[in-house]
Structure formats: structure tokens, C-alpha cells
């Protein structure tokens, strides 16, 4: 059977469920009595099992099945939640993620059976049975169970009855004239017309998909004349466990039924040739049958939900309520391939370029005295800007999807490092461009691990310092103008500048004299150099010295920046600043030696007119003193190997750019003005140019290069 078309959905949903489970089990660890959490966990595990089963991933199904067993025992109060049980459950989630990764890679779940885990799961069940406490609890549970069983049988009876009495539901179908005519036409033409009723297994999750597969299996061998419920309703899953159809074919009924039963999770399919009488039923009789059938489906429905509810929850009422309430809240969202959004974004970029050329064309030729044209161009400008913003917003996703996994990670770290710690997160709803969100996970993880491992002190030391025994790590995200700021903060030891200094000297990164003259800030930034780690022992968690430089290079690749603030004994804060979007930016256009360059407005602090007399020389380097701050001057023409086209004059135009908290003054020939530019890659052949981060196409079609001012520092 081909389920590949559902694979994407399966992967997405499974990931969601797993994330959900991670969060819920964390909650459970905090509050092991919360019935709501337990119920939700149970439901998530159940859906997972169903989905894995549908897709034919047996091992995954087995594991989730056993997890579900544990949850159901917990829910029934037979087993208490214990620390080691939580551990095992987390291991199970990891194993499931392993399956998922395998499936994603080669659409096969792999061969790992995870038997030890399953055994451990079952052991928790058995082991807990022996605990004396349940003796009292068991009785009421049994009673409820019995009650449930009773209601089950009582209410399930009508279902059984209807099925056993007359499972040939198609006979009750209400045929309209047209289908009757069509059927009898086919019969006259010598084909066989069959009425078929298909029963789907009760455990089936994707009923609509099953029905679809049944339809698909039938299509090659004949024609489905009419179905009950209608095809549309079946697609929307508006049916219970069975559906009926009239089918015309040249094949025998056995072939038809065999084809249907070939689809998995189909419990039963029954069919017979259509009796002539049904095609010519009198109208009154039909009416009667309708009444009967609606009545009966009503019963079936009721009984069905009852059974399902009693299956899922003892507090049936509450559950039912929740179900009905949760339905309308379902987000009205569409899953869109990110590639399609990229295409859309590219088109918007093209549009902005076209708009820019219109603007420049209108500015030069005689068109400009026509006010109508100008008005329209202004209108076009506002439309394209809005369009760009909307497309950008579509690409924005909350960082939630990335940071959600961190509480679990901190919990594991806490166990592994044997330090008590707690993660507090705010601003999970902060949105960033999808491409950025995908990349930000690793750097954040590094920072959190750093905080957990290097930052937080051991419990004894914390006590000595009068800090609370449980260390705190904070992850705060917020939007700040055109940037998104993510802060990772801890109340730990902070960074000891002297240790860093000694280590740097030891490694030969700086000399002793250099170290003495270096401000603390610069010394701390040494931490971001490759292969620099102050951890005394290389642990599993960190200490290989790959952390911080990876963080920095990743963030800078996203056109962002990282800075550290730290106070010894109090804690440290890592601040990541990221641009909201990467594709279109506001830039200042400048000229140097007749060439046009763009500088991102984000990195520009101010633009100054500096008189030549104000330029001083320090260590053979030109600097200026701007309002009390000494700023190095960079002559852009010499960096770019070009002759300045500007005549010697009394003053220089200096663009003050910033990188983190450092400033530099870039000397340019002239300013052209601010412009919205679309960033284009220079391609693989020109990747070596470090000072150029990309190119853009100007209104007149000319290519201008974008300066990476960060590389000038």
C-alpha cells in the first residue's frame, strides 16, 4: 500500500506530538498528580501510536503502545509517577525521535527494536503493582472499570445489533432518480451492479484516508455510481465507521471485496449484487427506509462516541466537553513549502527592483513634470512596500519551535551535571524569518549549555555565596526595532577575566604585555576565538572549545552579532542581535572612486562631516575624536583598491558604523541617499571577497555591491 503521500503530514504531526509530549512530561515531573496533563499525554501517545500504525511503522507503534499502557495505568491511578519513570519516558521519546529521523532520511524506521526500553516500561508497570498503596485505590478503579465495561456493552449493543441484524447498509441508501437510472442502465448493458458496505476498524485514525484508498482500489476495476455519505463528506471524514457505495463492474463481487479488504485497517466489507427491486422501490417505501436509516445511524453515532469516550477517559463528561470546545479553536493555517515562499519573496524582490528603476526613470526624463505619473509611482511604492512586509510576515515564524526543546535539555543537563537549575523563558512568540529560526537553534543550545556547565556554580559554592540552591538560566527574546534580541542569562559565577587572560597567554594567543594593556571587554571577547575553552575538564556537555566560536560564526553568518556582559560572582549575559529579515534591507548608498556601494542602515550609527584638521594619528593610524570617543578612520578607497575621485577638500564625509559596541569611521567620497535594496548573492565563483557581503541591482539596472562593514573592524 502506498502511504508516501501522507509521509510529510506524518512527519510534521509526529514532530508536533513529540514536542508536545516532551513539554507535557516535563509538566508531569513538576506536578505528578495533574489529571489534565496525564490525559493530554495519553491522548498524544495514542495519536502517535495510531499514526505510526497507519503508516506501517511497527516498531514505533510497539513502543508507543507500551508507553500508552503506562500512561493509562497512571491515569487509572494504578501507578504513581516516579522520577525513574519520567527518565524512561524521556528515553522513549528520544528513541521515537530516532525512528523519526530514520524515517525522514530513508522513509524506513530502521531496525532498532528498543527492547530494553520496552522492558523497562513494562517493569515500571509490574514493579508498581507491588506497591501497597494501590490496594485501596484499585477497588474504585475496578468499579469504574466495571461500570465503563457495562456502559460499553450496554451502549455498544445497538451497534452490534445493527451490524448483525443487517450489515448490508447499502440497502438503506437513499438513491436519487439519476443514480437509479444510471444503475439500471449499467445493468441493462450487461454489467454487474453491486451494493457494498465497508467497515473501518474502530482504532483507525485516518478514516478519510482509508476510504480514499478504498475508492482508489476500486477505480481501476469499475465505477462507483454513488456513495453514502457523499464522496465529499467521506473526504471530510464526516462518517462513522462504515460507508456504503454502489459499484458497477465487469468483475465478480469477490474480486471487488478482495480489493477493498486489501486496504489495511478495513475491518469488513460486504456486498451483493443489487436487487432489481431496490432500483424500483416505491416512493413511500423509500421514505420509510430513510426514517429508519437516520434513526439507526443516530444510534450508531451515539453509541460510538460513548464507546470512544469511555475508552479514552473515565471522566467522560469532561472529556467530551473538551473535545467539542477544542474543535473551533483549530488554527486556520495552511502548511506551505518554504520553497514556494522563497519564490514569492524573489518575485517581490524583482518587483521592488522594477519599481526602483521606474522611480529613477521618472526622475531623469521629461516624465517628471507629469504629476499623474509621479502620483502613481508613489502609490506603487507604498504597495510594493506593503507587499514586501506581508510576504516577510508570512515567512516569519515564532522562535517557539526552536526554544521549546530547551526545557527538556536543561532538565537532562541538570541530571547529568548534578546541578540544580531552572530555565525561565520569555518571548517565545517573538517572530523571526524562517531561515533564521532554522539556524538559531544550535547557537542558543551552545549558550545554554555554557551557562549550565561553566556558568552555574556547584550547589555548595552557591550556598556559600548566599545564592538560592537552584540556579536560574533565563532565555529572553524580544523585538527591538528592526532587530530581534535574544538574551541568554544566568545567575552563576560569571566569567573570570584573569582565568581567561592566563589561558590566552598560555595558549599563545596574546603576550603578557598585551594582556596587561587589554581592557576586560577585549579579554572576554577572546572567548569567541576558535578552540578556546576555560572548562578545566572536557565534559560531555561542553569544554571542547568549539562552543563560542561556532556561536559567533553562526550568528554572523545570519548578519547578526553576539556580545557578552559578565560580572564575576553574579552571572553573565550573552546577547544575540539578529536582523528581522535577510532578503531586503534599507541601505545607505555611497560612492567611492566612481563606484557605488551600499551600507546596511542597521550598522550605521551616524554620518559626520569631519574637518581634515580633526584627524589625529595614533600608532600610525588615523583616528578622530568624536564627542569624546576615539574612533579609527578607515579610508574606503584604499580598502577597495581604488583611487578616490574626490577633490582634496577641507573636510571628509565619514560614515560611523558600529559592530557590537565598537565604532569605526568609514571615509567615502559622497552620499547618494537611502534606498530599499534587495540582497543578491554574488554566486559561488566570487566567494572569496570578504569585504563584500552581496550585491544589489539599482534602479538603472547597474549592480552595486554591499559592504560588509563588520569585516572592516
Amino acid at each position: 500500500m502506498d502511504v508516501s503521500q501522507y509521509l510529510e503530514i506524518f512527519l510534521d504531526e509526529t514532530k508536533e506530538h513529540l514536542q508536545n509530549l516532551n513539554t507535557l512530561i516535563l509538566d508531569l515531573e513538576q506536578n505528578s498528580e495533574d489529571m489534565n496533563t496525564i490525559n493530554e499525554i495519553f491522548r498524544a501517545a495514542h495519536s502517535l501510536k495510531g499514526m505510526a500504525g497507519t503508516m506501517g511503522y511497527k516498531r514505533m507503534q510497539n513502543l508507543t503502545h507500551d508507553m500508552e499502557n503506562v500512561f493509562s495505568e497512571v491515569r487509572n491511578g494504578n501507578v504513581k509517577v516516579k522520577a525513574n519513570m519520567i527518565d524512561i519516558l524521556f528515553q522513549c521519546l528520544d528513541a521515537l525521535e530516532g525512528y523519526l529521523a530514520n524515517i525522514q532520511e530513508n522513509s524506513d524506521e530502521g531496525t532498532e527494536d528498543n527492547e530494553p526500553l520496552i522492558k523497562a516500561l513494562n517493569d515500571t508497570l509490574k514493579g508498581q503493582d507491588a506497591v501497597p498503596a494501590p490496594a485501596k485505590e484499585k477497588a474504585p478503579v475496578k468499579a469504574t472499570e466495571a461500570k465503563v465495561a457495562e456502559t460499553k456493552t450496554a451502549e455498544a449493543k445497538p451497534v452490534k445489533e445493527t451490524i448483525s441484524k443487517d450489515p448490508k447498509n447499502w440497502k438503506k441508501m437513499n438513491l436519487d432518480e439519476a443514480s437509479k437510472e444510471a444503475l439500471s442502465d449499467y445493468v441493462k448493458a450487461g454489467k454487474n451492479a453491486y451494493g457494498v458496505t465497508v467497515f473501518v476498524q474502530e482504532s483507525c485514525i485516518l478514516k478519510a484516508a482509508r476510504a480514499f484508498l478504498v475508492f482508489k482500489a476500486l477505480e481501476p476495476i469499475g465505477e462507483i455510481v454513488v456513495s453514502e455519505p457523499s464522496t465529499q463528506d467521506i473526504e471530510d471524514e464526516k462518517f462513522d465507521l462504515d460507508f456504503s457505495l454502489f459499484f458497477v463492474t465487469e468483475k465478480s463481487i469477490d474480486t471487488v471485496l478482495a480489493a477493498i479488504k486489501n486496504v489495511s485497517e478495513i475491518r469488513e466489507a460486504i456486498g451483493e449484487p443489487v436487487e432489481h427491486s431496490q432500483l424500483q422501490i416505491t416512493i413511500e417505501a423509500e421514505d420509510e427506509e430513510i426514517v429508519e436509516s437516520t434513526e439507526e445511524t443516530g444510534v450508531v453515532k451515539e453509541a460510538d462516541t460513548a464507546v470512544m469516550v469511555s475508552n479514552q477517559d473515565n471522566g467522560a463528561g469532561k472529556q467530551e466537553k473538551k473535545n467539542t470546545v477544542s474543535k473551533p479553536i483549530v488554527n486556520r493555517t495552511v502548511r506551505v513549502d518554504i520553497e514556494k515562499l522563497d519564490v514569492l519573496m524573489n518575485l517581490v524582490s524583482e518587483l521592488i527592483i522594477a519599481k526602483n528603476s521606474l522611480v529613477s526613470a521618472a526622475g531623469t526624463e521629461g516624465v517628471s513634470n507629469n504629476t499623474g505619473v509621479n502620483e502613481q509611482i508613489e502609490y506603487l511604492e507604498s504597495v510594493t512596500t506593503n507587499l514586501h512586509e506581508s510576504v516577510m510576515k508570512v515567512r516569519m515564524v515564532p522562535i517557539e519551535s526552536v526554544v521549546n526543546k530547551f526545557p527538556r535539555m536543561i532538565r537532562d543537563l541538570s541530571k547529568k551535571l548534578n546541578k540544580k537549575m531552572e530555565l525561565y523563558m520569555t518571548g517565545e512568540e517573538t517572530e523571526l524569518d524562517r531561515t533564521v529560526v532554522d539556524e538559531i537553534g544550535d547557537p542558543l543550545m551552545h549558550l545554554l549549555r555554557n551557562s549550565a556547565d561553566h556558568g552555574l556554580e556547584s550547589a555548595a559554592l552557591r550556598k556559600e555565596r548566599g545564592k538560592p540552591a537552584v540556579g536560574s538560566i533565563f532565555l529572553d527574546a524580544y523585538q527591538d526595532g528592526n532587530n530581534v534580541v535574544i538574551e541568554v542569562r544566568d545567575d552563576g559565577n560569571g566569567i573570570d577575566v584573569n582565568i581567561v587572560k592566563n589561558k590566552a597567554i598560555e595558549r599563545g594567543i596574546i603576550t603578557v604585555e598585551q594582556a596587561e594593556n587589554m581592557p576586560d571587554k577585549d579579554i572576554i571577547s577572546l572567548l569567541f576565538l576558535p578552540s578556546f575553552s576555560t572548562a578545566k575538564a572536557v565534559t560531555d556537555v561542553s569544554g571542547r572549545g568549539v562552543g563560542l566560536d561556532v556561536v559567533r560564526s553562526k550568528i554572523e553568518a545570519l548578519s547578526g552579532e553576539v556580545e557578552v556582559r559578565t560580572k564575576l560572582g553574579v552571572g553573565s549575559t550573552f546577547t544575540i542581535r539578529l536582523p528581522l529579515t535577510l532578503a531586503i534591507i534599507q541601505a545607505l548608498m555611497v560612492t567611492v572612486g566612481g563606484e557605488k556601494y551600499a551600507i546596511s542602515l542597521n550598522s550605521i550609527q551616524t554620518i559626520e562631516d569631519i574637518s581634515l584638521a580633526d584627524i589625529k594619528t595614533v600608532q600610525a593610524k588615523e583616528v578622530i575624536n568624536l564627542r569624546g570617543i576615539v574612533i579609527p578612520l578607515i579610508r574606503l578607497n584604499s580598502v577597495l583598491d581604488i583611487e578616490s575621485a574626490k577633490q582634496e577638500s577641507e573636510s571628509l564625509i565619514v560614515v560611523i558604523v558600529k559592530k557590537a559596541d565598537k565604532l569605526a569611521g568609514i571615509v567615502v567620497d559622497d552620499l547618494m541617499g537611502q534606498q530599499e535594496i534587495v540582497i543578491k548573492s554574488l554566486g559561488k565563483f566570487i566567494s572569496k571577497s570578504k569585504i563584500i557581503s552581496g550585491a544589489t541591482i539599482l534602479g538603472d539596472g547597474e549592480v552595486a555591491l554591499i559592504l560588509d562593514t563588520n569585516s572592516l573592524f
Partner: protein, 152 residues
């Protein structure tokens, strides 16, 4: 690149002039041929990379074959063209040629591999020699042509 091993097939080449010599470029790598236009210089890159051009909204790097082959610098005339080559992995790149002559079709069997003479640096740019009615034509090995030159 084994474009020469296509058996019993014909290969189409675009014949271009660089300096005094004529070269054949396999047509399947050619995306476009455009007139010489303004090239935006990119600083701090190899000398044979002239810069980038705007080709219908795409930024495409352009290199000078003459500089790469250690010939004199390009002299731009009305016949100068930029041939846009497209590679699956590296993307597009333009090469400047003095003139585009014609398109020829050669039977694959009429293309011989060159015997390498290690002394001549220029021969390394060739993947073979094609025999036509009007004489021989050197066929450029495009992978070598666009490959990054060492100590450039």
C-alpha cells in the same frame, strides 16, 4: 566531464575567437550570449574575475579568459560578447570572448583528445580537438576554464 564520450552522437559547439585563436564551447553549458555591458568591479578577488553584471535581475560574475590564459587584457570592441555558462553545482558565470563566430556540429567521433604537453600552460584549457571541413578547432575544457586558478 565526459561530453566527448557520447557515442555516435553529434556535439554542437559555439565557435568563439579569443586573441587570434578560435575555440569551441560545448553548447549544452551555454545559457546565454549577451553583448558587452557595464561590469561592476568586485574588489579583492582574483585578477581574472572582472566583476559582476546584471542579467535580467540576476547578479552574475564575469571572468576574462584572456587574463586567465595570460594573454593581453581585453580590448572591448563591438564584437565583444559575454558568454553565460551555467553549471549545475556552481551556478552561472560569464566569460568574455572577442567574437562569436558560428555554431558548428561535429560528430563525436571527430573529436580527438589532446595529447598533453606539460610545457604549454594554455593547452590545459583544452579538452580536445575537433575536426571540421574548415580545419581544426580547439575545444575548451570548461571545468578547467572556470576552476579557481592557483596563486592568482
Amino acid at each position: 566531464m565526459n561530453e566527448l564520450k557520447v557515442e555516435g552522437d553529434t556535439i554542437q559547439f559555439i565557435v568563439v575567437k579569443i586573441g587570434k585563436e578560435q575555440f569551441g564551447i560545448d553548447i549544452k553549458f551555454i545559457d546565454n550570449i549577451v553583448r558587452m555591458q557595464h561590469i561592476t568591479r568586485v574588489p579583492k578577488v582574483a585578477d581574472y574575475l572582472c566583476g559582476v553584471i546584471n542579467l535580467r535581475g540576476e547578479v552574475i560574475p564575469v571572468m576574462s579568459l584572456r587574463v586567465k590564459m595570460n594573454l593581453s587584457a581585453d580590448t572591448i570592441s563591438k564584437d565583444t560578447r559575454i558568454i553565460i555558462l551555467k553549471f549545475e553545482q556552481q551556478g552561472a558565470i560569464g566569460i568574455i570572448v572577442d567574437e562569436v563566430k558560428e555554431v558548428i556540429t561535429i560528430d563525436a567521433s571527430q573529436v580527438d583528445k589532446v595529447t598533453y604537453d606539460t610545457k604549454d600552460e594554455r593547452i590545459n584549457f583544452l579538452s580536445g580537438v575537433g575536426k571540421t571541413d574548415n580545419g581544426l578547432i580547439s575545444i575548451l575544457d570548461l571545468n578547467v576554464v572556470v576552476a579557481e586558478k592557483e596563486n592568482a
